[in-house]
């Protein structure tokens, strides 16, 4: 599969992509999280004999971004300690029944669904914990017992469409691909037969309250208590970036991995632009962001924590002040580096103030101008644009930046382009620093009209401190008038390209799955020397030539007329023969003409009167029109 894996780093990425499941299996060999709390109902009703019962963890990570914005990442993890694949699970406590049944019915191995509005600006916000493409994204691994993957995929997307009130029913064969190398199972499985994988994005999907409500209903406490009580639609959608996702995967149920548990991870990321709305002040608080404060943890949660990223304050202690003060701090390995976080454990009563609420606030002491210059760009980021003019052809350009000063690393780039942009793979050019950069692996699946999109996957080695430009030409197709969306001149969205990158770590970090915070364990890491991230570029908006929608009848009539002109003239010449005109009276037309002529008082037509001209004997006789 991989033709020439020259460097060590490519090998690593290949290794991760090939065997992500097995590696994670090793890492997940952690102890089953002991139930620290006596949960109110679950504990009594729960099936304790089967290994402890379900657990629920919630977590909020607050990260001030380099640009002055602030990102809040909610993570909710529900664990079901029985295997949905083998047993018939009829009793659900914390795990949502609706998803459990869907997984059993369609033999889903792994499911990842995200709804996103806005675009994560990697360049100014830094590396995201978990990025999602604008619109909706769904990728599912099916179990190898599924006979007809396409049918299950179609039905599953229709059901999810109903569950999440989204237009996932628009997922069909024209926007579905089966990537060979970019998406590997993240859970406990060794199957890498990519015919069991389906991936689709809907970049046009608009995310709003109706998607949030069903998402919140999956939580054990709903939005009644705990961190989820902060999730109020009117604030969440008043933000620069909003992304909510659902990830379901099987994980190890116990230390030696003899039992299988299922994990439902719900992640919601929102970026608030407080800097500009706060009139230049960078101070923020939970109340300012969500217009709410936290009053209690979710009583069903075994862990409920808020992490505040304070890694910027290490050098200068007096930069800002966090209230309320807490002494809990922890070093967490994130993105290949250990970062310092202030931790609020909501299960401890002491974090709440006298009026029983918690409003974390941050006040800057120094002036904002004390920060030096623009923020440093992240190690790897990418952008994409369409060049060219007119509606005939165009070029898709992807720029991938490696800002690491001395390390090269590989990136797996995946492009999904709908069939109506006809890609020409011979025009694919990858250049780094003015030189051609030959990819070590290329998988290309050309599109089929009205059936299948283009899929292009490439493994590219990025040299240190470089910009790589990937460009490919395309031709715009003219579609049938019924194939255009209601506003055809708005353009067509092209799904973002997906970059799977394995970036070298700064410090050697090895994460333990169960004990570390949820945000550090989104992707299983292979070993300490590098970490995996998945980046998405912007979706593209491309205009296609359009027919005139107002005149199908006219076109049908006019074209048929031309065909009839051809038919008529050939028919005339084929079926009739030349004859000397000998009829005296002429046809009915001539009679009518003579009546009119009599009224007008001009000489009447008679046979040959028009033609007779003397002195032109050599000229051919005039011929009456074809009748």
């Amino acid at each position: 599969m991989f033709t020439s894996l020259s460097s060590h780093a490519i090998g690593q990425l290949a290794c991760w992509l090939e065997g992500g499941g097995s590696l994670s299996q090793g890492n997940m060999a952690a102890t089953v999280l002991p139930c620290l709390l006596l949960l109110s109902v679950g504990w009594i009703v729960g099936d304790a004999a089967q290994g402890g019962g379900d657990t629920f963890r919630e977590e909020l990570l607050l990260t001030p971004l380099r640009s002055g914005d602030i990102a809040a990442t909610f993570q909710f993890r529900t664990r079901l300690d029985s295997d949905l694949r083998r047993e018939k699970v009829s009793h659900y406590r914390l795990f949502p029944k609706v998803l459990g049944q869907v997984i059993s019915k369609y033999s889903v191995q792994e499911l990842h669904l995200s709804f996103t509005q806005g675009f994560w600006r990697t360049r100014s916000w830094g590396q995201p914990l978990l990025q999602a493409p604008t619109g909706a994204e769904l990728w599912v691994w099916f179990q190898d017992s599924v006979a007809d993957v396409n049918k299950s995929w179609k039905e599953l997307s229709n059901i999810l469409s109903g569950i999440f009130c989204a237009s996932l029913n628009f997922i069909e064969s024209t926007n579905t691909v089966a990537p060979t190398a970019s998406f590997k199972p993240q859970g406990l499985v060794n199957v890498t037969n990519h015919s069991l994988l389906r991936y689709a994005t809907l970049p046009r999907e608009v995310v709003c309250t109706e998607n949030l409500t069903p998402w919140k209903k999956l939580l054990p406490c709903g939005s009644k208590a705990g961190l989820a009580s902060l999730l109020k639609a009117e604030r969440l959608y008043h933000s620069s970036y909003h992304s909510q996702s659902v990830h379901i995967r099987p994980i190890c149920g116990n230390a030696d991995c003899t039992q299988v548990s299922w994990e439902l991870r719900q992640v919601l990321t929102v970026v608030f632009d407080l800097y500009s709305s706060g009139m230049g002040k960078r101070d923020w608080s939970l109340f300012k962001m969500f217009s709410r404060t936290i009053t209690e943890p979710c009583p069903l949660a075994s862990e409920s924590k808020i992490y505040l990223d304070t890694s910027g304050s290490e050098k200068d202690d007096d930069l800002f002040e966090v209230s309320p003060f807490t002494a809990h701090e922890s070093l967490v390995p994130v993105h290949g580096d250990k970062k310092l976080y202030t931790v609020y454990d909501l299960l401890e009563q002491s974090v709440f103030n006298t009026s029983r609420n918690l409003n974390i606030a941050l006040k800057w002491k120094g002036s904002p101008s004390s920060d030096a210059g623009p923020p440093l760009p992240p190690v790897c980021h990418a952008e994409r644009y369409v060049s060219g003019y007119g509606l005939q052809t165009g070029v898709i350009n992807t720029m991938i930046y490696n800002n690491h000063p001395y390390r090269a690393f590989p990136v797996m780039l995946m492009e999904t382009v709908p069939w109506y942009l006809r890609l020409y793979v011979h025009t694919l050019s990858i250049t780094t620093k003015g030189k051609e950069n030959k990819p070590s692996y290329i998988h290309y699946q050309p599109a089929k009209d009205r059936r299948r999109p283009h899929l292009l996957e490439m493994l590219i080695q990025l040299p240190p401190n470089s910009v790589t430009k990937v460009s490919i030409e395309f031709e715009r197709a003219l579609l049938k008038w019924t194939e255009y969306p209601p506003d055809p001149n708005h353009g067509f969205y092209i799904s973002p390209s997906v970059l799977s990158v394995l970036i070298p770590s700064v410090t050697s970090t090895k994460t333990e799955m169960e004990d570390s915070p949820l945000f550090a364990t989104i992707f299983p890491s292979s070993d300490g020397s590098s970490y995996f991230i998945r980046l998405y570029t912007e979706p593209l908006l491309v205009n296609l030539p359009t027919p005139d929608f107002s005149m199908p009848y006219n076109v049908i009539c006019l074209t048929c007329t031309v065909v009839a002109v051809g038919y008529g003239s050939f028919y005339n010449l084929l079926t009739r023969t030349f004859q000397v005109e000998d009829r005296k009276g002429g046809g009915i037309v001539k009679k009518l003409a003579n009546i009119i002529r009599r009224i007008r008082g001009v000489p009447l037509l008679d046979a040959g009167s028009l033609q007779r001209r003397k002195g032109h004997a050599a000229e051919a006789p005039q011929i009456g029109a074809m009748e």
Partner: protein, 435 residues
């Protein structure tokens, strides 16, 4: 006669070489009038790079050339420009030789008919004389090589030039009376673009005429010869198709080429009638109209064959014109092929009714194609209807041109038998009508 032909070929090659080297080459090769999805050079290159990537070129919907073309160009892709110039010159030489032989045969036939007193006595003005016929082959070659349509087609490296060459060779071998070569070249032309299957009838009629076998159902020789030619044709077609199968080890190409031609899934604008019609068609009528439009190309064959069974070469000309008007992805290369034969029918000019009007129409349309394309696609100040209107009038012009020649041909035949100056019984000048 060879020297002027060489001169024409040299001029033509120079013009093409200059255009290949100029900046216009890139512009021309993107023109939708010159290249269609079936014969665009960009798609040939794409097919070859797909093969290099280990992907079957027919697994996608970009490549619709035949497997033989891919393998041919796999070897000569670096010399593609020279190959296309040679192909054009070859076509012109083949047409030149074919027309020269045909004219000789026609002259002989005319003398025979004169001796047999088959012509009316007053029709001698209509008889063809050697001095007029002398330059016709050269004019045909000139019309083909220096026709702007052919030049554009060659500079864009459209593979319709190759199809034209195959058809020219087919005509040459038919005129020369070579049964086998005629069938093989016809099979190759059919294999590449399907529509030349309608040229089977004129070729058969011509060969029968050459062998002096009368076309009569009671005649066993006629049936024997028809079976012979038919089986040669089908045999070569099967061999070519099987050969393609063994090159790629799959039958995907059949659907990808012939299915693509017949079902018209790609609505990229071109000079034909199909693209806008099916872009605007209601979905549930689509299949019906595809059938109607496709039948249109083929069904004229039968009545035309009956009407023109004495004149197979003219039948061939009319068939070529009908293909180029009604085929699903026409380009100017197809138009250029039948237009090359126009000098052959210069003796019909006295009966042509609207040659001036039609010529103006075709020239104006050809100029307006790129203008309206620019207004629609680049400037955005016009819409698709403008370009559609020009394709309509271009096709009306072509239909008028062809039917005018057809009319003139039939009229001349009538006058040859009944005399040039027709009189009524009372001695007055008569009017000739079609009824």
């Amino acid at each position: 006669m060879a020297a002027p032909l060489v001169l024409v070929v040299l001029v033509a090659v120079t013009v093409r070489a200059v255009l290949f080297r100029s900046s216009l080459a890139g512009f021309i090769s993107e023109r939708v009038e010159v290249v269609s999805p079936l014969n665009s050079w960009k798609r040939v290159v794409e097919g070859m790079s797909l093969l290099d990537l280990g992907v079957s070129p027919y697994s996608g919907d970009v490549f619709h050339e035949t497997p033989l073309i891919v393998y041919l160009f796999h070897f000569v892709v670096d010399y593609a420009e020279i190959v296309f110039m040679i192909v054009d010159a070859l076509t012109a030489v083949a047409l030149y030789l074919a027309v020269r032989d045909y004219n000789k045969a026609m002259f002989k036939q005319q003398r025979l008919y004169l001796e047999l007193k088959k012509y009316a006595p007053e029709s001698h003005d209509l008889l063809r004389v050697p001095t007029e016929m002398y330059y016709i082959p050269l004019k045909v070659a000139l019309f083909y090589l220096l026709n702007p349509y052919t030049v554009l087609c060659c500079v864009a490296k459209s593979t319709s030039a190759i199809n034209n060459a195959v058809i020219a060779l087919f005509i040459l071998s038919t005129v020369k009376g070579s049964l086998l070569l005629s069938a093989v070249f016809l099979a190759l032309a059919t294999y590449q673009s399907l529509y030349p299957v309608t040229l089977f009838m004129p070729a058969l009629l011509y060969l029968l005429q050459r062998q002096f076998i009368p076309v009569k159902a009671a005649n066993p020789d006629f049936w024997l010869f028809t079976c012979q030619y038919g089986s040669l044709y089908l045999g070569s077609l099967v061999i070519v198709l099987c050969h393609s199968f063994f090159l790629l080890n799959s039958w995907d190409f059949v659907y990808s080429i012939y299915g693509f031609i017949l079902s018209v899934p790609d609505l990229t604008p071109n000079i034909g009638l199909f693209w806008y019609f099916f872009a605007e068609m209601f979905e549930h009528f689509s299949l019906f109209f595809v059938c109607v439009f496709q039948i249109n190309v083929f069904f004229y064959t039968v009545p035309l064959t009956i009407k023109l069974k004495e004149h197979p070469f003219f039948l061939l000309f009319i068939q070529l014109a009908i293909i180029s008007i009604f085929k699903s992805y026409p380009t100017v290369g197809d138009v250029a092929l039948y237009m090359a034969f126009l000098p052959m029918w210069s003796h019909l000019s006295r009966f042509l009714r609207n040659l001036f009007f039609v010529s103006c129409m075709l020239i104006v349309c050809s100029v307006l194609f790129p203008v309206l394309w620019h207004l629609w696609i680049y400037a955005g100040s016009a819409n698709s209807n403008f370009y559609y209107a020009i394709t309509l009038s271009f096709n009306v012009g072509q239909i008028l041109l062809v039917s005018d020649y057809f009319y003139a041909f039939l009229r001349r035949e009538y006058h040859l038998q009944h005399g040039l100056y027709l009189t009524k019984k009372d001695g007055s000048e008569a009017t000739l009508i079609l009824s």
